[in-house]
């Protein structure tokens, strides 16, 4: 490879990274800005916007709601996705292929359509909107992540291992908990974290399916439309911390290539 194409490569990557990360970095910087202005120059570091977030009832309620939703969605989605992946890894029948396709539909359908379809459904069966109705939508959009991550691990897993454990005298449950599950444990935890991150960040479906108690991004959306309030930067940074910490832990658990399939 020539030094020139190497130089061009680095320049392209650097410009792309600035483009991708500039908005994120700015939000974090402005969250520590001393004044309410969101333009340059920065005026001294300050944590006043964070203090405001933690004294504002609507933010606190939003944080609580998002926490409850994300953890529940994490558990349910990981459970459903993992069990389905096991079934898919074992058999290649038509009905399993159908389920695999169904599970991936929410990933290729705009959140808007899923949101209004769920809203129509809840309306038709007279279900009042609440955090539960948000959770259902979030399980739908996060299932594809679990199926992809756990499924990718299982596709590299030799089913003979389970049989070997059984032949050596393990019961079905023992074989599962002592042999099979440990092999996919890292992928299952990684899926859980990605699901939590995606749920904490999700706003499009939540906007249509949320009741009186709103999740944090919905609260932010409500404020965005009214005014420019710098405490939005602080609360956005808090969401970022959750999603980024999850992403970094995921990195320790699985290779990024497991997602690039």
């Amino acid at each position: 490879m020539t030094p020139r194409s190497r130089l061009f490569s680095w320049i392209f990557v650097a410009v792309l990274m600035v483009y991708l990360f500039a908005p994120v970095v700015l939000v974090v910087l402005f969250s520590f800005n001393g004044t309410a202005s969101t333009s340059l120059p920065f005026t001294g570091p300050s944590i006043r916007w964070y203090q405001r977030v933690f004294t504002d009832q609507s933010f606190i309620k939003g944080i609580e709601a998002s926490f409850i939703v994300a953890i529940t969605v994490g558990v349910v989605s990981t459970f459903l996705g993992t069990t389905a992946s096991f079934a898919m890894a074992r058999s290649k029948s038509a009905i399993l292929g159908l389920v695999a396709w169904l599970a991936l539909i929410p990933a290729i359908l705009p959140g808007l359509f899923l949101g209004v379809a769920l809203l129509s459904f809840y309306n038709q069966i007279d279900v009042p909107l609440s955090l539960l109705t948000v959770m259902i939508g979030h399980v739908l959009v996060t299932l594809p992540f679990v199926v992809l991550i756990v499924g990718s691990r299982l596709s590299r897993f030799d089913p003979a291992v389970e049989e070997a454990a059984r032949d050596l005298g393990a019961t079905g449950l023992q074989a599962f908990f002592k042999v099979v599950f440990p092999m996919v444990r890292a992928s299952v935890i990684a899926s859980f974290l990605i699901v939590v991150a995606a749920s904490v960040d999700e706003v499009v479906i939540a906007l249509f399916t949320v009741g009186a108690t709103t999740t944090l991004p919905v609260t932010i959306w409500g404020m965005l439309r009214r005014s420019i309030d710098p405490s939005i930067n602080a609360v956005a940074t808090l969401i970022l911390v959750v999603t980024l910490v999850s992403t970094f832990v995921v990195r320790r658990l699985i290779s990024p290539r497991d997602l690039a399939r």
Binding site: M1, F113, S120
Partner: protein, 316 residues
């Protein structure tokens, strides 16, 4: 010879009078072609929760949504009228037509830009910066999970009249007046959507680039093909599926987005998603909103079919 009993290995057929459980297992075995009876039941139990969940909360809601597109809305009530009126309005109304044109133009622009940027990045990390590919791919994942709403909102501080870009350009004296086309315009919508979709588009392209062998590229070069010919006739056709998948998902998600046009689009950057969202909110015309969603979906499907054959024709 010990006779093989029904529950040890596979064939429940050796049982003379099948009990209900065996009959059910036999029936299930036609759908789940797997080994033992126990395995079949395990498969069914593992699959049932997800299958039920997806049927109740995905298939049925989409069905209700489709049915609503044939109803009418009057005085904040849905009336089961069974009419094509909503589709006729969505297709023939001049406002809706210009919205669809705007939406599809933006979605296609976003699709092309995103795929070009994502491919260039994937190509670079696969062939030119190989020793850093894990780290760079990871940075894409970080970006993918670094806040959707937050990023759209942040672009307003970058592109606005008092934003970073205008501020910088004025400071170094390149411009006197702020460039007002940066925010609340189509440019802004495209810039923000590409920003959000590039990381997503990189993943399938990178995955298909894994299948491209450097030997194949060398072979092509050895046989006398130039760098450009090799690229167009060997490398790109090998990643065609990844490219198409990325293009498809980018166009779909861009066409269905509604927060981006609402936050940074202004009047010129208005897209159908914003109007659909309004139909399900303030203006309360669910039936028309549902019909518009299906017209949008129809347009995207047609575009993607054309694009698919285009990809096959050009890249082979």
């Amino acid at each position: 010879v010990i006779p093989v009993s029904s529950d040890s290995r596979g064939g429940g057929a050796t049982v003379e009078r099948p009990g209900p459980l065996t009959a059910a297992t036999l029936w299930a075995s036609r759908f789940f072609r797997t080994g033992t009876a126990r395995e079949r039941w395990v498969t069914i139990f593992e699959l049932a929760p997800t299958l039920i969940f997806l049927t109740v909360f995905l298939v049925i809601p989409l069905g209700v949504f489709f049915v609503y597109s044939f109803w009418t809305t009057s005085v904040f009530q849905l009336v089961p009228d069974w009419t094509l009126e909503n589709y006729i309005t969505a297709i023939t109304d001049a406002n809706y037509q210009s919205l669809f044109r705007n939406t599809l133009t933006i979605a296609l622009t976003v699709g092309v830009c995103t795929v070009v940027v994502a491919y260039t990045f994937a190509h670079i990390i696969r062939f030119h910066l190989k020793q850093h590919q894990e780290t760079l791919l990871f940075l894409m994942l970080v970006s993918l999970f670094s806040g959707y709403l937050v990023r759209i909102y942040s672009w307003r501080t970058i592109l606005g009249d008092q934003g970073i870009i205008n501020d910088l350009l004025q400071r170094i004296g390149l411009i006197d007046e702020p460039l007002s086309f940066l925010l609340f315009s189509r440019v802004a919508v495209v810039l923000v959507l590409v920003n959000y979709l590039v990381p997503l588009a990189v993943l399938p392209i990178y995955a298909s680039l894994q299948n491209v062998n450097e030997d194949e590229i060398e072979a092509s070069r050895d046989l006398g093909a130039g760098a450009a010919t090799t690229f167009w006739r060997v490398t790109l056709p090998l990643v065609r599926n990844g490219l198409f998948f990325s293009f498809a998902i980018t166009v779909i998600l861009a066409a269905g987005d509604y927060l981006t046009p609402q936050l940074v689009g202004g009047i010129n950057g208005l897209m159908i998603g914003t109007v659909i969202a309004d139909n399900f909110g303030a203006t309360f015309n669910w039936a028309l909103g549902a019909a518009s969603s299906f017209v949008t979906t129809g347009c995207i499907v047609i575009i993607l079919i054309v694009a698919y054959f285009g990809f096959r024709r050009v890249l082979r």
